[in-house]
Every structure is written in structure tokens, then in C-alpha cells.
């Protein structure tokens, strides 16, 4: 019964999205003003219905209701509870349901709390949100129904891909989805603003917290995803430029650019058309990424079950929404004036440079991701990998980081480089010193060397906007910027250190053998079978010592899951303040005179955790900025209410006289 109720709620939610679109659009016309009142409540109810449908599906997974096809294909009764729940979105249908739920709840949230925008812009925004949702409801209900029943009911389910049976993955996709779909709100705002021609500082201030919110989730999601790939895939790498990773990176790049340009619009009423376009592009990148991953048009390690019909369906949605939005942009942006002017040396210019660099990285990532398709059109199949992406993106990222140091020090509107250059001497000296130190340590490859040189300078330079200010009186949003920029420097140091200083050993060890990896001495003490709830494993016991220090034990495993039957290596990691020891137990190799040898892959990766710590700092900086913006807004609202109240009192007194 529950699956049918869930399906019913989904249809209802879709119908309400239709109503929201029609009412919102009609309310903008002369004759339909009366409908304006229902748009917000409809948006809220629609969000809750979608959420209820998702809960119904989660419950089917928790109960392991095998009469539901999706559960039978992707779950198993012997799975721990957390993976039963995570299994809900570990597949195509469930993840699309999560997508529409986040979109519905996002719209509901906007409808409930957003009061800054002029009412017509708000109505157009909610209608736009409903229009986009409607397409995804149609996709879900017509081409990927998650509640389809199965008859006869199978004995047990197929289980979840073991790679996905990991705590990190239980939370990583929902986090990313909140980010992806949160950008739909920026998209709808952009549409609303284009329809009503209301692009200005008010629009920017209203849009900013939503963009910030989505961006924080994207940042956390990408950081978590990178760490997941790092320790689950057992390859020791943390970014593979896989189409799915690129699909998450591209919206993040667009959202980062949007975040900065929206600040220019809010503070200086400049970059109007550009900001609106980024609002459209950011969510478009979410949709394009989803399409590229789900349609199976690109080969990826993250491949979902591929169905060509679905690819065509999503493509049609893309064409309607992105094409429509860009058409609207082309028609309307000409009537939106560019806004205030600014000098070449000014904070605006630095932010424009940042935007151009971010957009360039976005462009080259998209090009690299699509390039296999382009060549296929000419009859050749190729794969584009890190040898292209890494240097080309660094070519834009490194200059951007340099300008990032200068930008926050410049004044709005116009400034001179002479005023800030004495301050900039400090980070430059730090860069030269750390570059020299890295060279002395034997780093010779250009990119790691540049990264090691720049990272400490970026950290020092990012703190400079705080100089000469009373730290307690620095606004929270400035702290947010400082923390986020420092985070970038920290992450850069981790990345450069990983590629410059990582040491790898691949050994075939007998029990009792010892080996040296950098400062670590590692002994294979034992290999023994262990069992978990739905797997058995061979577990290696490694005794490790750092530079002759105390002995610690690490236990990498080679696990065999039985539902579905699959073997995969579970790495063991040991984190110190200055790096991480990464161990993987491989196969048993041919025994020589009775004693079996085990393949061990061992890495010592100095400072590698800084990559993710930096990522989290970036997100934390976003969080501080969001907090500050929301607090400012609440304060403004309160002051306005107080003013209204006083005016009301005065009016009463006047009348009473």
C-alpha cells in the first residue's frame, strides 16, 4: 500500500507544481491578480508532498519491501540499516526522487521566508521554479517511476554496490544534491528578474544567501566525494577528472563565480547582465552534468544503469529549460543596463578577473569532458584525462589565486596599485621563500613547485584584509571571506605536497617481512579471515612505526561481499599531523616454498589531509558569510517592522487628535 501512497503523493505534487506555474504566471497579468495569494502556499504544500513521497520510498527500503522493483534491484535484507537508507538514493530512480524533493523543498523554503523581492519578481521566480520542477516530475513519473511493483516477489534483493556501502557515501550524494538543486533557486531568481526586468542591488541581496547556501553544500559535497574516492577506490588519488567529478566541479565553478559577481551587484550595482547569466549557467551546469552522467553518453566509473530513452528525456528537458532561459536572456538582457562603471584597478576589476578565470576553468573542463563526444562525431573515440586537465586548469587557477590576494585589499570603484603594493610585499616574500625551500628539498616539476611556493603566500595574503582592524569589530562576512581564501591556500598546499612528496611502495611480502616507506617501517604481522554483516574478508595486520617511534597497528582488508558478489579492497589509513599512511592489501600471490606472499600497496603522503581540511575551511567561510547575511537581513526586517509600528502609532495619535 505504501508505494501506491507514495506514488499518489508524487502525482499530487506534480499537479500542484502545474498549478503553481499557472497561478504564478497568471498573477503577473492584469486579470489574474487574484491568484497571487495562492502561489506561496501551493509551493509549500508541493515541497512537503515531494518530501513525503521520498519518505515513503525510504520506508520501503528500510522494510526491504521486495515487491517494489527498485528495492529488489538495489537492496538486500542483510544490509545494515544505514545502507538500506542510503540505498534509496544509490540508484537512478531514487536519486531523481531526491532531486525533485530538494527542488520542491527549496521552492517551499523560498516561498515561506523570502520577503525582500518585489512581489511580481517573486511570483515569476516561484512560477519559474515550478516550471523546472514540472519537467523533473514528468521525467520521474513517466520514465523512472521509483515505486513500480514487481511480480512475482523475489526471495531477496540484489544488494547495493559494495563500493557504495560506506558511511561517507550515505551522506555525500544528498549533500551534493542539495547543492546542485539549490542552484535551481538562483536559476529561478534569474528568470524572475529577467521576466520582470528587476535586476539591481535588491535582487542581488535577495539571491545571495540562496547562492551561498547551495555553494556551501556543493563545496562540502565535492570535498567529501573526493575523500571518498581517495580511500574507497584504493588508488591513493583524490581527483580523477572523471566525468562525474567534472559534473560536480562545473556547477561549483559557476556558483563560485556567481557568488563573487553577486557581491559586486549588491555592493556596487555593476555586472548586472553577467550576474543574471551566471545564475542561469550555474544550474544549467547541474543539469548538463546530470545528463552527461545519466544518459550513458560518456563512459564513467560512476555509471548508473543506462537507458537511452532516459537520455533523450533529460536532453529534451535541458533543451527546454536551458535553451529557454538563454533565449530569454538574449531577448531581455539588452534592456538591463550594465550598471555602474569602475576603474581598471579596483575591487570590481579583481572580481571580474576572478570571474573570467573561473569561467575559463569551467570552459576548459566542459571542453575536456565533451571532447570525446566531439571526436566521436568525427569517427574517433578518445579519452581525455589528467595530462590535459591538470596543467590547463592550473594555468588559470594560479593567476586567479594571485589576483585573489590583491582583490580584497583594493577599494571599490577605483584604487592605485601603489597604495597596496607595500602590503603585498609580505606574501610575495613568503612565496619566494617557500618556493626556494621546495626547490632545495628537490622538487623539480613545475606544477608542484609552483603550488608549494604559492600556497603559504596565499594563506598569509588571505589574512591581510584583517590587518590594522580591531578583530572583534571585523564583520562576520569579512571573516567568512578570509577563512574561505585561507582554505584555498591550505588545500593547494595539500595538493602540491601530495604530488611532490608522496612515496609509494608495492611489495609482495611474506608474513613477518618488513619494509621501509619514507619515515615508516612497516611489518606484515599476520593475515587472517574476518567477517562482517554481509561480507567476509582477509585482513592484514600491519605493525607500523614512524621514525622509530611507538608501534601502531593497521588493518587493511580485501573484502568479498556476497550480495552482489564482488571483491574490493578496503584501505587502512593512519593520519598524523604531517600526513597520512595509506595501506592496501592486495591479492595472495604464488607461494614460494610454502610461504604465501601478499601484495601490499603502501603510500606515505605528507600533508595530504590538508586538501580536505582546506575544502572544509572554504565551506566554513561560506557558512560564516551566510550567517552574517542572514543576521543582517533579520536585523533589517526587525528595524523595518519597528518603523512600521511607530508610523502606525503616530498615525493613530494623529487620528485621535
Amino acid at each position: 500500500m505504501l508505494p501506491e501512497i507514495g506514488l499518489g503523493m508524487l502525482w499530487l505534487a506534480a499537479a500542484l507544481a502545474g498549478l503553481q506555474l499557472i497561478a504564478g504566471a497568471l498573477a503577473l497579468t492584469e486579470g489574474g491578480k487574484g491568484l497571487a495569494g495562492i502561489v506561496r502556499p501551493v509551493a509549500i504544500v508541493q515541497g512537503f508532498l515531494a518530501a513525503a513521497a521520498l519518505l515513503a520510498l525510504i520506508w520501503c527500503f528500510v522494510e526491504t519491501d521486495l515487491s517494489v522493483k527498485l528495492v529488489a534491484e538495489n537492496s538486500h535484507s542483510a544490509k545494515p540499516l544505514i545502507y538500506k537508507i542510503a540505498g534509496t538514493w544509490g540508484n537512478h530512480e531514487g536519486s531523481m526522487l531526491l532531486w525533485v524533493t530538494v527542488m520542491g523543498l527549496g521552492g517551499a523554503f523560498v516561498a515561506a521566508v523570502e520577503r525582500r523581492l518585489p512581489e511580481p519578481t517573486m511570483l515569476a521566480t516561484l512560477a519559474g521554479q515550478a516550471f523546472v520542477s514540472l519537467g523533473f516530475y514528468a521525467f520521474l513519473l513517466l520514465a523512472s517511476n521509483p515505486f513500480t511493483r514487481l511480480s512475482p516477489v523475489p526471495e531477496d534483493g540484489n544488494g547495493l554496490n559494495p563500493l557504495l556501502q560506506d558511511p561517507g557515501l550515505a551522506f555525500h550524494p544528498p549533500t551534493l544534491y542539495v547543492g546542485y538543486v539549490g542552484l535551481s533557486i538562483a536559476f529561478s531568481f534569474a528568470i524572475g528578474a529577467l521576466v520582470t526586468r528587476q535586476v539591481g542591488p535588491d535582487f542581488a541581496r535577495a539571491m545571495r544567501p540562496w547562492v551561498l547556501g547551495a555553494w556551501i553544500f556543493l563545496t562540502v559535497g565535492i570535498t567529501a566525494g573526493s575523500y571518498w574516492a581517495y580511500y574507497v577506490l584504493g588508488w591513493g588519488g583524490w581527483w580523477f577528472w572523471d566525468p562525474v567529478e567534472n559534473a560536480s566541479l562545473m556547477p561549483w565553478l559557476a556558483a563560485t563565480a556567481l557568488l563573487h559577481s553577486v557581491s559586486v551587484l549588491a555592493a556596487r550595482n555593476a555586472l548586472r547582465a553577467w550576474t543574471v547569466m551566471l545564475g542561469v549557467v550555474a544550474f544549467s551546469m547541474s543539469m548538463i552534468g546530470t545528463f552527461l552522467v545519466r544518459s550513458g553518453i560518456l563512459t564513467s566509473v560512476h555509471a548508473f544503469a543506462v537507458d537511452p530513452r532516459r537520455g533523450s528525456f533529460i536532453l529534451a528537458l535541458l533543451a527546454i529549460y536551458i535553451g529557454g532561459a538563454l533565449l530569454l536572456f538574449a531577448l531581455r538582457a539588452g534592456t538591463v543596463s550594465e550598471g555602474e562603471r569602475f576603474a581598471v584597478t579596483s575591487r570590481e576589476s579583481a572580481l571580474v578577473f576572478n570571474n573570467v578565470m573561473l569561467s575559463s576553468i569551467l570552459g576548459i573542463t566542459l571542453l575536456g569532458t565533451l571532447y570525446p563526444l566531439v571526436t566521436e562525431a568525427f569517427g574517433q573515440k578518445v579519452s581525455v584525462g589528467p595530462p590535459y586537465f591538470t596543467p590547463v586548469s592550473a594555468m588559470f587557477a594560479l593567476p586567479m589565486l594571485l589576483v585573489m590576494l590583491v582583490g580584497p585589499l583594493l577599494r571599490w570603484r577605483g584604487d592605485t596599485i601603489g597604495r597596496v603594493s607595500p602590503v603585498l610585499a609580505l606574501p610575495l616574500v613568503v612565496m619566494l621563500a617557500s618556493g626556494g625551500a621546495a626547490f632545495a628539498l628537490g622538487v623539480r616539476h613545475a606544477l608542484p613547485l609552483l603550488g608549494l611556493a604559492m600556497a603559504p603566500g596565499v594563506v598569509v595574503g588571505s589574512v591581510l584584509p584583517l590587518r590594522g582592524r580591531s578583530l572583534r569589530r571585523v564583520p562576520l562576512n569579512v571573516w567568512g571571506m578570509v577563512v574561505a581564501h585561507v582554505g584555498l591556500g591550505v588545500a593547494l598546499f595539500g595538493m602540491a605536497s601530495d604530488s611532490a612528496f608522496s612515496i609509494e611502495r608495492l611489495v609482495a611480502a611474506k608474513i613477518g617481512d618488513s619494509t621501509q616507506v619514507g619515515p615508516w617501517q612497516i611489518t606484515l604481522a599476520n593475515v587472517a579471515p574476518v567477517a562482517g554483516p554481509n561480507w567476509t574478508a582477509m585482513e592484514g595486520v600491519l605493525k607500523v612505526r614512524y621514525a622509530g617511534g611507538a608501534e601502531q597497528v593497521m588493518t587493511p582488508q580485501s573484502r568479498t561481499f556476497w550480495a552482489p558478489l564482488q571483491t574490493n579492497a578496503v584501505s587502512a589509513l593512519l593520519t598524523r599531523w604531517n600526513g597520512q599512511l595509506y595501506t592496501v592489501l592486495g591479492e595472495e600471490t604464488a607461494a614460494d616454498n610454502g610461504a604465501p606472499r601478499w601484495q601490499l600497496r603502501l603510500w606515505w603522503k605528507p600533508y595530504v589531509p590538508l586538501i580536505w581540511i582546506g575544502g572544509l575551511l572554504v565551506a566554513l567561510g561560506g557558512g560564516l558569510a551566510l550567517l552574517s547575511r542572514v543576521a543582517q537581513d533579520l536585523k533589517r526586517r526587525k528595524v523595518r517592522e519597528k518603523g512600521d509600528f511607530r508610523r502606525g502609532e503616530v498615525a493613530k495619535l494623529e487620528q485621535g487628535r
Binding site: 591513493g236 533523450s312 536551458i322 592486495g586
Partner: protein
């Protein structure tokens, strides 16, 4: 507010034009039947001379003379960073099981990455040469990864397969190999 000179109107249409290009591209990609047959310029010609160092610790390197020892072989161009190669790995393993001898050239690869790739996806190769700057790859007329060449016993290129070999193409590849042996 000061009115500023605007960008020319046509630039506003640029995003839409780019997007339509993208749509055209993927529609083409979705509709087009997969076809990996391409007549190569190099077919019927001898392999260029090369000698590559070993790309991994447990397999020897590869020289052009190794490929002219009387028995036809497959020469697979791959890389650990190449995603279609991951899909192709089990197919190559199947080819090896059915008696094909496969040598490989790893393009712009790092030893550690390659070791991880081979451990994870299997190692069907008899030898693996490292081509760090794509020099050999270009010389034998391959422009991407993965690609597979059929080389006869005299070191003559007999067939070039562009892209990953799919499971249903295994018999075809074996037939080409057999043909090259005659």
C-alpha cells in the same frame, strides 16, 4: 545612474548559440550508431622502429622488433587515466584467455597509477612499453586511447581498432588476428 556603453547585442545570443551547439553534438552522439571501423593509413605498412622502457615493474618493455617474431599479436594503446580503458580491461582479459597475445603501450602514464590500474582491472599484457610523450603513438597513426592494432608476424600493421573493444567484438578481433597469421 550613468548609462555605460553596452556590449554589442549579438554577444547576448552567444550563450544560446553555444548551448545549441552542445545540444546538436549530444543529439548526434545519442542517435549515431556506434561504429569503430576506420581504414587506417598505416594498414599494410610496417611498424615504425621504437624501443620503449618497461612501464611497470613486472612486465618487460616493448620494442618494435618484439612484434616481428613470427606470431601475430595485438598491440593495445592504453593509459591508466583513460576511462574507456577500464571498460575494455575485462574484454582484453577475455581475448587473452582465448589465446591472443597482447602487448601494450601505456601513454603518458605514471608507474604508480599504472600499477594501481593493473591491480584493479587485471593485467592481460605480455609486455608494456612506456610512451611518455606520445611519440610512438603518433608514429603508428593512433590519436587516442584506447586503440588496438593487429600486427602480423613480420611486424606489419594489419588492422586498427579505434576505441574500446566491446564484448561482442571479441570474435571479430580474433578473426582479424587469425587472418593476420595466414
Amino acid at each position: 545612474m550613468s548609462e555605460t556603453p553596452k556590449a554589442p547585442r549579438w554577444t547576448l545570443w552567444l550563450p544560446l548559440a553555444l548551448f545549441l551547439g552542445f545540444v546538436a553534438l549530444v543529439v548526434f552522439g545519442l542517435v549515431r550508431p556506434k561504429n569503430n571501423d576506420i581504414a587506417s593509413q598505416m594498414i599494410g605498412k610496417p611498424l615504425p622502429a621504437f624501443a620503449l622502457r618497461a612501464a611497470s615493474d613486472d612486465r618487460p618493455g616493448l620494442a618494435s622488433t618484439d612484434l616481428a617474431k613470427g606470431k601475430p599479436r595485438l598491440l593495445n594503446i592504453f593509459a591508466s587515466w583513460c576511462i574507456p580503458c577500464r571498460a575494455e580491461a575485462p574484454v582484453l582479459e577475455e581475448l587473452r584467455r582465448q589465446g591472443a597475445q597482447i602487448d601494450a603501450i601505456a601513454i603518458r602514464d605514471h608507474k604508480e597509477d599504472l600499477a594501481a590500474f593493473l591491480q584493479r582491472y587485471g593485467n592481460p599484457y605480455a609486455s608494456i612499453g612506456a610512451d611518455d610523450v606520445s611519440a610512438v603513438q603518433l608514429a603508428i597513426g593512433s590519436s587516442g586511447v584506447p586503440e588496438t592494432f593487429v600486427i602480423d608476424g613480420k611486424g606489419i600493421i594489419r588492422y586498427q581498432h579505434i576505441g574500446d573493444i566491446t564484448p561482442d567484438q571479441v570474435p571479430e578481433m580474433l578473426a582479424k588476428l587469425k587472418e593476420a597469421g595466414q
